[in-house]
Each structure stands twice: as C-alpha cells, then as structure tokens.
C-alpha cells in the first residue's frame, strides 16, 4: 500500500466511529500507542550533497535501511548527521520514494548502478511505479542478455481459466491460436485452405491444352470443372463453418458482424452460394461471372494469420489523410494537364486525344512515369506540355510518400511495444494480486497473534508479537486493528481467496446431500456413497443453526474424503501462497480457541486445514478435527 496514505490512517480510524452505533459486538482493544519519537528533521549527507527530511517520512518503510535502526550505523557524531558514501544522483530518487510512496527509474542512469543502490538501501525493485516499470524491466532484460545470462523473465502463471465458459474459451482460441493445440490446428488448417482456394482460383484460368473438338484452348477450369467445383465446395464448407463458429463464440455478435474481418469472410463465401442458387438462369449468369471476382477477397483472410498484413492495413487506414491529400493533388494535376493536352493536340490529325477524359489516361500514365506509349503527343506544344506533365508527376507523387512511410514505421514500433506490454501485463497482474493477498495474509497473521495472546495480556503483547512475526510497523498494527473493528461491526470475518474458494466448494457439495443420511452415517465410505446416490436431489435448503453442528460434521467427513483425493492438486495450486506466507509457529493451537469455545458457532472451515502444512499432516489434523467435532 502506498505509504502516502499512511498519513490518512488517523482519518480512516476516526471515521470508524461511524460504525460503532451499528455494531452489535464489542470492539477489540486498540493497540498500545507507541511513544512517539522526537518529530525532527534528519540530515542525510550523501557524498557531500545534503538531504533533509522528517524522521517520520523515513520511518514509513521500516524494512528498509533508512527506515530502521540500521541507519544508526551510518551516524556521524562529529557533524550530527547520517553520512552515506553513495551516489547522490540516484539517492535523490530513493528519497523521493519515501516522500511520495512511488519509486521512479531515471532513464539516463545505468541499470546495474541503480540496482546496486536499491539493494544497498534495502528497497525491492518490484515496487517501482507503473510509469517506470516497463522501462526498468526492458533495460534489465537488455542488460542480462548482454552479460549472457539465461534468465528469461517468465511472465508469471497463466491467467486462471477455470471459470471461462465454453463460448469464451472458444473465442479465446480463435483470437489467440497459441492458447491450445486445438486452436493451433484450426489456425493452420484454415490457413492451408485459404491458400488452396486462392491457388485454385488462379489455376483454373490457366490454359490447359486444347481438346480436339474445340477451336481454342480451354482453361483448366473448364476442363476439370468438376474437380475445381469440388475443391471450391470443400473450401467454402470450411470457411462457412469457421464463420459460424466465430459468430457463435463472439462476445458481442453485433460488433463482430460489423467488423472488417467478418465482412471479408462473408464476401469470400457469398459468390459460391449465389452461384448455387443462380446456375440455371442465363441472363444473370453474366453477373455471376462478375461475382467470381470477389473470390479473390479470400486472400484477405490471410490478414488474421499475419500481423504484418494487419499493420499494413492499419497504417493505410491511419494514413488516410495523407493518402487523401495525395489523391486530391493528383486529381487536380490530372485534370489540368489533360485539359491542356487535349487543347494542344486538338489541331493534329488522327490524334488519339479525342476528349478530355480520354486524355486522362495519358496524363496518369505520364505522371506516374509509366509511359505505355499508346497515346503520344504529336504537336510541339503537346510535347512541351507532356514533358512538364511527367516532371511534375514525379514531384507530386514523391511528396506524400515519406509521410506514409514514417507513419508505417511509427505504427509498427507501437505494435511492437504493445506486444511487449501485453507480455508484461501478466507479470504486473500477478504482482498486484500478490500484494493484495499479502495484505490479507498479514492481517490474518495479526489476528492469530492477537488471539494467541488474548485480550487481557497486554503486557506480554510486545513479546508475543516479536515471537510470532517480525517487528510490525506501527502503521500496520493500527491498520489491522481498524480491519478488526470492521469485522466486529459486521460479525463476519475476512478470508483470503484460496480459503474462501475451498470453503465455497464444500458448501456446494453439502447442498447435494440430504439431511438424514449425513447425520446418521458415521463412517466415511457410507456417507460418501449415500451422498453420491442422492446427488440428484436438487431441492435442499441449507439447514438452520440447530443442525449446523451435525452437518458440519458431515462437511468435515466429506472434506476429509475430498482432502485425501485432492491434497496434491490443492497444495500444488497453493504452493506459491505457501511460499509467500512466513512460518506459522503455532498453527494448531491457534485453531483451538475456535473449536472448543464454539458450541453454537461454526467450527473451523475445513478449507483452512490443507493450507496450514503439507498434505500429510493436514489429513491427520483434519481427522483429529473430526473427532473433536463429533464429540460435541
């Protein structure tokens, strides 16, 4: 959490008075107010450059060098200041971190020097603010590649895809072929068929050798009409299926239908269907032949397979204004020169410049320096104007082209950066989630430590806290007390995500078991089979509190069965969280107050048990848990 808001913690705590009249339970005791140290200025002398700041500012981050007692090692009695023999330019950024809560990375500094300073002052680089994080990561990676280290930054775990519906997963498969092998296969198959279709289109117009009863040569399309027709049918089948699947899977069908790619798809397969409908009608078959031209649009379907094509298309779209200007200036020039050429050549006999529109053709061919030679001026005036026309053509066309090129290069680099950012987004999301869950875990840790000590042992609280966790900064303690007050106000407790999900799974399982069978069944296998047989019964309301104890027993039973079958997956998934938590010295004892003191309230949710230790001990523990509960 940004410690800039640490200054607002008193406000948040004061605002908590708003909950007090609503709360039904008594509030927890606030933590002891530590005796406030002298609120004074501290002078930091870094290689001659003096920095000054408040003591409180530095103490916002007690796990860094400047915020903890570690800085006393650098205290210089003679000048009554803290002296550091480090780089003052980089130190500026480090001090700004204390002030604003955001760590920035200066682009002109060397990445390894910066890293060294960060590690000296005990600041982890992961808290670099989002504005500078990409740059930092880029430079770091470059650096590592340069020193030939094989530390490929792995972009975190895959996003949890457990709760994607079939439709959403299909859409994802279409958009990113690399997500699954099925998607990749589909991608390559469609690409292959696009190529085949385009080649067939091209090949069927090639002359294929003459047949005796025909005067001129037949094209391959007419000779092997049936083969080409079958090929075309197959391709169109595939394209139709693909289009329908995409339409089905699209999250917003209306938007999909409007998109360019879908229009291209439709235009690519329409001629075939229209042809099927209209083969017998002689009059319209001419138009049908024209429609075949549209089959060439199938080549545009390749743009899904090629990022470069998409970039080109996007460039052209974004350069629309430059292209428009080019077109406009060309049109102006064409009209001017065509008019001049027409009137210049009017006099000569048998001139091809029959009208101004006819002269357009000459002007375009000349301005683009093509010069086919089918229309040539014969008069002297015509030749003079013709040469002026070709010279100006070169100029007019050459001007907007560099603009388009620079646009293309800018967009290309942008897309490259977007790719990089997308790859880093996963890391960033994982980071944010880790911080969030870390905060929740720290709070639960705090609560267990408080419960362990008990509310009436204030004196030994300091010792207890030191025992269970590292020195809690003052801010954290107060923040946890605030969250505890909120819990007491609402009579609900905070859980972290994993625990919540496992407990949710158990609750849904309970809903499928009927009441009587669960209470009567003592041993686990029997209970489990009865639960399976009665799975069809959907109508089952959650029991009231009287039955809750017995049902909790069944939950425990089911959960042990569950735990035995699932411990591997559960622990594997929560492995990262296990590593993130620090050692719980007394987990078992912590749970005890919940169980023994609570006859009416619910016993410990079974979800927490697999999290505490590794799988083996958890099953033993949950067995022990069962014994206690059923004894009640």
């Amino acid at each position: 959490m940004a410690a800039g808001v640490a200054a607002w913690l008193p406000f948040a705590r004061a605002a908590a008075i708003g909950w007090m009249p609503v709360a039904t339970a008594p509030m927890p005791v606030p933590p002891q107010e530590k005796r406030r140290g002298k609120d004074g200025l501290i002078v930091l002398n870094v290689s001659g450059t003096k920095f000054q700041t408040w003591r409180d500012t530095l103490e916002r981050y007690p796990d860094t060098l400047l915020g903890s007692t570690e800085r006393d090692f650098f205290f210089h009695e003679d000048s009554n200041e803290y002296f550091f023999d480090r780089d003052p330019d980089i130190f500026r950024h480090i001090l700004n971190f204390y002030r604003t809560g955001k760590l920035h990375y200066p682009r002109q500094e060397c990445i390894s020097a910066y890293d060294e300073e960060l590690s000296f002052f005990g600041i982890i680089p992961e808290i670099i603010g989002d504005c500078c994080y990409e740059e930092y990561k880029d430079r770091r990676r470059e650096n590592q590649e340069r020193i030939q280290d094989d530390e490929e930054a792995d972009p975190g775990n895959e996003l949890v895809s457990a709760d994607l519906s079939f439709r959403e997963s299909m859409w994802r498969a279409f958009e990113n072929p690399h997500t699954s092998t099925m998607a990749l296969v589909f991608y390559y198959v469609t690409g292959f068929f696009i190529a085949v279709s385009v080649l067939a289109n091209v090949a069927e117009t090639v002359p294929c050798g003459s047949v005796p009863n025909r005067a001129k040569e037949m094209s391959c399309g007419e000779r092997y009409a049936l083969a080409f027709f079958c090929l075309d049918t197959a391709c169109v089948m595939i394209f139709t299926v693909e289009y329908l699947l995409r339409l089905l899977a699209a999250p917003s069908r209306y938007r999909f239908v409007k998109s360019v790619m879908s229009i291209i798809d439709v235009v690519a397969i329409m001629p075939y269907y229209i042809g099927l409908v209209m083969t017998d009608n002689e009059d319209v078959s001419g138009a049908f032949v024209t429609l075949r031209v549209f089959r060439v649009f199938r080549i545009f379907k390749f743009s899904r397979h090629s990022a470069g094509l998409r970039i080109l298309g996007y460039t052209l779209k974004s350069c629309a204004s430059e292209l428009g200007f080019l077109l406009f200036s060309l049109t102006m020039a064409i009209i001017i020169f065509a008019t001049v050429m027409f009137y210049a050549e009017k006099g000569s006999s048998a001139s091809k410049f029959t009208s101004i529109p006819a002269a357009f053709w000459y002007t375009i061919v000349t301005m683009t320096t093509l010069g086919y030679g089918d229309m040539v001026p014969k008069t002297i005036m015509g030749k003079i104007f013709g040469s002026i026309c070709s010279l100006s053509g070169v100029l007019v066309i050459a001007l907007p082209v560099p603009v388009i090129v620079s646009n293309f290069s800018r967009i290309y680099h942008q897309s490259q950066r977007a790719e990089k950012r997308r790859a880093q987004k996963k890391t960033r999301l994982a980071r944010i989630r880790a911080v969030k869950s870390g905060g929740a875990k720290a709070y639960l840790q705090y609560k267990r430590s408080r419960l362990l000590i008990g509310p009436d042992q204030e004196a030994s609280k300091e010792a207890g806290q030191a025992l269970v966790c590292k020195t809690n900064p003052n801010f954290e303690v107060h923040h946890h007390h605030l969250l505890h007050c909120l819990e007491k106000t609402t009579n609900h407790e905070f859980l972290d995500e994993k625990t919540f999900e496992t407990s949710l799974r158990e609750v849904t399982l309970v809903k499928q078991v009927s009441r009587s069978s669960s209470i009567s069944s003592a041993s686990s296998p029997h209970g489990f089979t009865s639960c399976c047989s009665r799975r069809k019964r959907k109508t089952f309301n959650v029991p009231n509190s009287n039955m809750s104890v017995g049902l909790q027993g069944s939950i425990q039973e089911l959960s042990t069965i569950q735990i035995r079958e699932r411990p591997l997956t559960n622990s594997r998934s929560s492995r990262s969280s296990l590593n993130a938590k620090f050692e719980e010295t007394v987990p078992l004892n912590c749970e005890q107050p919940y169980i023994t003191a609570a006859v009416i309230s619910m016993p410990t949710p079974p979800g927490t048990t697999p999290e505490g230790d590794d799988s083996a001990s958890s099953t033993d523990y949950s067995q022990a848990n069962i014994v206690r509960v059923s004894a009640l």
């Binding site: 008075i17 008594p26 049109t331 969250l483 859980l495 609750v507």
Partner: protein
C-alpha cells in the same frame, strides 16, 4: 455474354470512381469526418487551488494543537496537492485501506458527512473540523456526527431505507471472501436489529434524541466511542 461481363466490371469501375470522388470532397472539407477538437480539455479546471485559513484560526476553531495541525496538513497536502479533496480522490484514498472489498459507497457517505457546506469538495478546514469532532469531541458530539452520517438526506430522521444503504455500504467493504459467507439478507437483518434497539416508539424512524438516548444506555457503544481518542 461479353457485354454482360463488361457491364459488371464497369459498375465496379464506377463505384471506385465515386468513392474517390467522395474522398476528394472530404479533402475539400465539405464532408467532415467529425473531427471534434475538444478545446475545452485544454482549459482544465486547474483554477481549483485552495489555501487554508491561518494556523491560529484553525487552532482556535478546533481542538488540535499547532503541532498536530501541522502534521495533519502535511499528510493532507501530500495526497491532495491542490488543497481540496474531491469525491473521486476521497474514494480512492479510503479504498486503499480496504483492499478486499468495495469501500466506494461508504466513502461517498463519509464524503457527504465531511463536506458540511455541500460544495462537492472537502477542504482542509472541513477535514480538520470533522476530525476534531471525531477525535477530541464529547460523546454527545460524536454521536451527533454519527447520526448525521446515517441521515443521508439530512432531514433529522433515519429511515430504514437510509440505514439499509449505510449497512450495505459497510458490508460491501468486507468484500466477498468472508467467513461466514455474506448473504443477501444479512444487511437487512442487521438493520432490523438496529431498529429494534433504537426505535423506541416504533414509528419506523429514528430521531436524534432516540439515537443518543439509546447509545448512551449501551455500554459497548459508550466504550467504543473512546476507542480512537489517542489516534493523533
């Protein structure tokens, strides 16, 4: 058949020419493609800067000492360099203390409670006055403040709907990962309990006198009022 072919292709050629013509017209600026240069964005309301009253005045109006006011102002100005908090920033700051849930609704009510002159922003004076009541005020004043917070439309009565809104806002702050699992009717039940306790004459609303009377008779509430006294 040849003529038919030509006609079809000619149509395409005509279409192309028409499209080009439209583009040329666009170049003329006759068919603007909707380029709205929002000039207003340039003139951002950067004129909102606020300087608080002098230290002596604030010292006289609140129950904080000079040093405490200094500390408070430094923290305030750090988060809001312009000197005033608007509702968005307020919600942002408050939400950082409750990462698991959604604190924005409750922050909205809090904002209204602090913004005593209802001008849409909380200045340092509003902030400090509010804190002065909450941290250094008498129990009567604190209860008054709490009543003011619950009374959303400031008409002097707390109705069940208002209380339900507040209750839902508080429960929203818990988030969804709670134990026991938050149900839909939990806030409503809590409101019923609250009204049973507070509404003495059972007329469906809680007045300020009923509220203060009832709170003063409740030991838990009285004790919790003194909880945050040494916060600063």
């Amino acid at each position: 058949m040849l003529t038919m072919n030509l006609e079809g292709l000619e149509m395409i050629a005509v279409l192309v020419v028409v499209v080009l013509f439209v583009k040329v017209l666009e170049q003329f600026g006759l068919l603007e493609a909707g380029y709205d240069d929002s000039v207003e964005d340039e003139l951002e309301l950067s004129a909102v800067r606020h300087r608080p009253e002098g230290l002596e005045q604030l010292e006289a109006q609140t129950r904080f000492s000079r040093k405490e006011l200094q500390i408070l102002y430094r923290g305030f100005k750090n988060e809001c360099p312009s000197g005033v908090v608007n509702e968005e920033t307020f919600k942002d700051i408050y939400s950082q203390f409750f990462p698991q849930g959604d604190a924005s609704t409750y922050a909205h009510f809090l904002f209204n409670a602090f913004d005593t002159d209802h001008n849409g922003s909380v200045s340092f004076e509003d902030f400090v006055m509010g804190l002065s009541i909450l941290l250094r005020g008498t129990v009567q004043e604190k209860l008054n403040w709490a009543f003011n917070l619950y009374d959303i439309n400031k008409d002097g009565y707390i109705t069940k709907e208002e209380m339900l809104d507040i209750m839902k806002a508080i429960y929203d702050m818990m988030g969804k990962c709670t134990y026991p699992v938050l149900k839909e009717e939990t806030p409503r039940q809590h409101v019923e309990v609250f009204f049973q306790k507070m509404d003495k004459n059972k007329d469906g609303v809680v007045t300020i006198d009923e509220f203060i009377d009832c709170c003063q008779n409740d030991e838990n509430i009285m004790r919790s009022m003194h909880l945050f006294e040494n916060v600063l």
